[in-house]
C-alpha cells in the first residue's frame, strides 16, 4: 500500500525542500519506488535541489489541468532510477491547484509508487493545505527557535483537524518531528532551544535531528540531495531518519556537543 508523506512546517526557510529531497532519495536508495512532488507552485525549488531543473518540460499544474500525462511530467532522477520528481510550475500560483486535481494525481501515483513525498510550501494557505490534505504521514520540519516551533504547532493543529483523514474520521496522520539546523554548541550557549525544549512544547515523536552543516548548502548548490553525501553529518542524519521511518532502531546522533566534549577534555579553546 502506497503512503503519502507530507514534509511541512508552517514557517519558511527551515529546510522542507532539503528534507523532501533527502528522504525521497533515501527511500528510493533503499529500493522503494518513490515520487517527490513540489507543491510550491510559483516558487519552485525542488528541481534545483534535485539537480533536474534543465529537464523540466511539463509540471504538476499541467498534469492537474490534463495538459500532460503524469508520465510526461515525471522526471527520473539522474542518481537513482527508482526516484521520480514532479516539479511545480513557476509561472502559475497556488490557485492553479485544486483539491480534486491533487487527489486525482496522487491516486494515479499510488498505483505505481510505494512512497509519495509532498514538499509543502511555507504558510498555511492553499498550497500548504493541499500538500497535507491527502497525507498518511507528516514530517514536521522545525528549527530550534520559538517562532518555528509555534508555526509547527499550528501546522500540527491543521493536520489533526483539516486533513482528509481528520475530515473522514479515519485514523489520524502519523506525525513525526524533524529538528533541523541544530547546533549543540549554540544550545549550550542558550542561543537555541534544545531537543528537550522543543519536544516539551510539541510533544511529538522525534524522528531525527539534522545538525547545522555546510554540507547542506554545498549539496543544494550542486543539485544533489545531501543524503548522497555519506561522509557528511547531515547526510548521515537523514539516512538515520529514513531508517527509523522504515522501522529500524537507530540511536540519536548529533544532539550532543562533541567539540565541546573534546574542548573540555583538553581544557583549551
Amino acid at each position: 500500500m502506497a503512503r503519502v508523506i507530507v514534509v511541512t512546517s508552517g514557517k519558511g526557510g527551515v529546510g522542507k525542500t532539503t528534507t523532501s529531497a533527502a528522504i525521497a532519495m533515501g527511500l528510493a536508495k533503499r529500493g522503494h519506488k518513490t515520487a517527490v512532488i513540489d507543491f510550491d507552485v510559483g516558487l519552485r525549488n525542488l528541481d534545483l535541489i534535485m539537480g533536474c531543473e534543465r529537464r523540466v518540460v511539463y509540471d504538476f499544474v499541467n498534469v492537474i489541468n490534463e495538459e500532460a500525462t503524469l508520465n510526461q511530467a515525471l522526471i527520473r532522477d539522474k542518481n537513482c532510477n527508482l526516484l521520480y520528481i514532479l516539479p511545480a510550475s513557476q509561472t502559475r500560483d497556488k490557485d492553479a491547484l485544486s483539491q480534486e486535481g491533487v487527489g486525482r494525481v496522487l491516486d494515479e501515483l499510488k498505483k505505481d509508487f510505494k512512497y509519495i513525498v509532498c514538499d509543502s510550501p511555507a504558510g498555511i494557505e492553499k498550497g500548504a493545505h493541499l500538500a497535507m490534505y491527502f497525507a498518511d504521514d507528516a514530517f514536521v520540519v522545525t528549527n530550534p527557535e520559538v517562532s518555528s516551533v509555534r508555526d509547527s504547532d499550528r501546522m500540527l493543529g491543521i493536520l489533526s483537524s483539516k486533513s482528509r483523514r481528520a475530515e473522514q474520521n479515519e485514523e489520524p496522520i502519523n506525525e513525526f518531528l524533524l529538528l533541523t539546523r541544530y547546533s549543540p554548541e549554540r544550545v549550550k550557549l542558550g542561543e537555541m532551544l534544545s531537543v528537550d525544549d522543543v519536544q516539551d512544547i510539541l510533544s511529538l515523536h522525534l524522528l531525527g535531528v539534522i545538525p547545522e552543516s555546510k554540507s547542506v548548502l554545498n549539496a543544494s548548490n550542486s543539485g544533489t540531495p545531501v543524503i548522497l553525501d555519506e561522509k557528511s553529518d547531515a547526510g548521515q542524519a537523514y539516512a538515520d531518519i529514513v531508517a527509523r521511518y522504515l522501522g529500524e532502531e537507530r540511536p540519536h546522533r548529533f544532539i550532543d556537543d562533541k567539540k565541546g566534549f573534546f574542548r573540555n577534555l583538553f581544557g583549551g579553546k
Partner: protein, 256 residues
Amino acid sequence: MSQDSKKKSNLINALEFKTSTFSVPVLMLASDDMGLLEQLLAQKIKQAPEFFKNSPLVLDLQEINKQGFIVDIIALVDLIRKAGLILVGVRAGNVLQNKQSLDLGVPVYAAQGRESIVESQRLTKFQVETPPTIESDKPQEIKVTVPTTLITHPIRSGQRIYAAGDIVIMAQVSAGAEIIAEGNIHVYSTLRGRALAGVLGDIDARIFCFDLQAELISIAGNYKVSEDLGASVRNKPVQIYLKDKSLIIKDIVLHH
C-alpha cells in the same frame, strides 16, 4: 355525556395557558455610544458564537436610564437584531422607550425588583441558570444536563475548543490555542494557551491544570494574562477560582 358537552370539553382542552420559567440572557448596557456597544457585542458573541446564534435576549435599560443616557431604542434594537440575537423584551424602560419598543413588537417588562414576567433571580451580566423551584406548583423548569467534553489529543496553536459544559483535556494545550467552556476546565497536562471558564457568567467555574504556563486565564470574564502570573504559581499543578471578583490561584495539592 352528550355529544355537545363532549365537543365542548375537547374545545376547552385544545387551548390552555400555563406559566413557565425560562432562562434568558439579559443584556445590561452602561453606555450610549452605539459604536462601542456594537463593537463590544460583537466581541462577546465571538467568544461563543454557537451560544449566541439566534439566542433570545432581554434588553435591560435600568443602568442607562439611571445614568441619564439618551439612547435611540430603534437603533439599539436594530443593532441587536443585526448581531443575530432575538430580542424578546425590554426591561426597565421609561414611557417613551416602552412605547418605541411596543411599536417595534418587542414586549415591555417592568424593572427588576418590581413584579416582572421574566423572572431573573441571579443577575450576572448574562444569566443562564434557572434557580431551583421550591414549590411544586410553581412553573416547571426544563433541566438540561450538558455532558462533559473529553479531549485526549493535544490542542495545538490556533485551535479553539468550545464546551457547553465542563471540559477535560488529557493532553497539553499549546500556546496560541484557546479553550472556552461554560463550566469548568481541567487540563491534565501543561496549559500554555488561553483558558476561559464560566464564559456565560458562572462565577463558580474553576480551572484546574497540571502545569500552569497559560497566556491568559479567565473565569466569568475576570482574567489574568501571563504577565500577571507570578513565579510562585507557574509550572505546577494549580486550581484557579473566583473570590470577590478576583482570581485566586492555589496549589492543587493540599498539604495537611
